[in-house]
Amino acid sequence: MLRVVLGTVVTFAGALFLFIGCLGVFRMPDVYNRLQAGTKCTTLGAFLTAIGVGIIEPTWFWKTLVIAVFILLTNPISNHALGRASRKSGVPLCEGSVVDRSQEFDGYEGRP
């Protein structure tokens, strides 16, 4: 019984993180802010949801752990590639941005 309650709480936290991440993708003013909100919240939310389902059904735990580890590996890589690509293809920053250090790197070839 305690196991089911614990798994329900973890799964509910994961679903809430997923919704907050999607709300951040809808509300943020810029591509890079949207990337940050989408990546962090959805990675943690999907991880917590998979682990919570594994806690509720203990015979599924290793399979859901494999799914969680795959999400934890692939999601930051693809989002990093998207951020780098949008910076190199010349998407401007939003109005209130303070600092932009990306032009100081060696071999920077994109348009600012």
Binding site: V4, G7, T8, T11, F12, G14, A15, L16, L18, F19, G21, C22, L23, V25, F26, V31, R34, L35, G38, T42, T43, G45, A46, T49, A50, V53, I56, E57, T59, W60, K63, T64, V66, I67, F70, I71, T74, N75, I77, S78, N79, A81, L82, R84, A85, S86, K88, S89, G90, V91
Partner: protein
């Protein structure tokens, strides 16, 4: 965990997918739409895991596993095109 609770969680996640769809319709440039699609893909993986719990079949988790691995490929293709091609 009863079916009503799982369906409530599924409804919350579906509202997130609808918000991603609104951003895809509204986004000014192509990288905005790519970010919205990437977020929708990750959210869909969690939704498939929850639906496997709802139908109580362990075989349904394989779909989420394939999904978590293969959407990575399309996104990397889009990112490489945006980095080199324009």
């Amino acid at each position: 965990m009863s079916g009503t609770v799982i369906l409530t969680l599924t409804g919350i996640i579906t509202a997130g997918i609808l918000l991603c769809l609104l951003r895809l319709l509204k986004g000014p440039t192509a990288p905005d739409r790519a970010v919205a699609m990437d977020t929708a893909c990750t959210v869909t993986t969690a939704l498939l895991v929850l639906l496997a719990l709802f139908f109580k079949r362990s075989v349904y988790l394989d779909v989420a596993l394939v999904y978590a691995l293969l959407t990575f490929m399309g996104l990397v293709a889009i990112a490489r095109y945006l980095e080199r091609g324009i």
